[in-house]
């Protein structure tokens, strides 16, 4: 299926209706974040990082449209 796959983890997973869902193609991660905030306003209050295809990103990153995007709250393993 076309589009981005969004996966949420930890606390973020509990704040969204689904832990994994499809999302329409976006040009870059800034656009994606804006759409996610629009769709799920409660995300705005949460601290999380983005990973694109399992790589943490620090800045706006272009998207092809079929990436796996992960919403990662601060890690708390160990």
């Amino acid at each position: 299926m076309e589009g981005l796959t969004v996966k949420a983890f930890g606390m973020i997973a509990e704040k969204l209706p689904e832990q994994e869902f499809k999302f329409p193609k976006k040009e870059n991660t800034e656009e994606l974040l804006a759409s996610l905030y629009n769709e799920y306003p409660n995300l705005k209050d949460l601290d999380f990082s983005l990973a694109v295809n399992q790589q943490l990103i620090q800045q706006n990153t272009p998207l092809e449209g079929d990436e796996e995007i992960a919403l990662l709250p601060p890690f708390s393993g160990g």
Binding site: K7, F9, G10, M11, A13, A51, Q54, A70, L72, P73, P74, F75, S76, G77, G78
Partner: protein, 146 residues
């Protein structure tokens, strides 16, 4: 030989039998002179009128395994180690049980100890793993690493 990511996750607590067996497995590697072992244990922290009874761990497994592999390669590069093992629990681990087992072996103690310490720090900071504290009064609280 190129190394590949290997599984580090264990369902539930890490048993003392597993730890003992892991030590025993190294007895044939007689070039080892020092092992350093770190064990993370679930602590019964007090939280707003209740107390932690267990931590439930979840992970972004594919990313965590890839990241653990990168960390492992970097530590092997930096320290002169004979071997290195990492085990982290997933699912529920009760207070007093072991949730993280890091094991480094070397010819001499300094390398093993320093590598083990750096490995534990990097695991806690860089692996996409989350702990949810389950409290005695049925409340839940997302763990924050300090």
């Amino acid at each position: 030989m190129t190394r590949k990511p290997k599984n580090i996750f264990v369902e539930g607590p890490i048993s003392s039998e597993k730890i003992a067996k892991s030590i025993q497995n190294h007895s044939s590697k007689t070039n080892i002179g020092a092992h350093s072992i770190f064990l993370g244990q679930v602590r019964a922290d007090e939280k707003e009128g209740s107390v932690v009874r267990a931590i439930e761990y979840t992970a972004y497994e594919e990313m965590a395994l890839q990241k653990a592999f990168e960390i492992r390669e970097a530590i092997f590069e930096k320290y002169n180690l004979t071997c290195m093992h990492i085990y982290h629990s997933l699912g529920e681990v009760k207070t007093g049980e072991i949730c993280l087992f890091v094991f480094t072996s070397s010819k001499h103690r300094k390398m093993a100890i320093d590598a083990c310490e750096e490995l534990v720090e990097r695991i806690k900071n860089e692996l996409p793993v989350w702990g949810k504290e389950l409290l005695e009064n049925s409340d839940e609280n997302w763990k924050v690493n300090t």
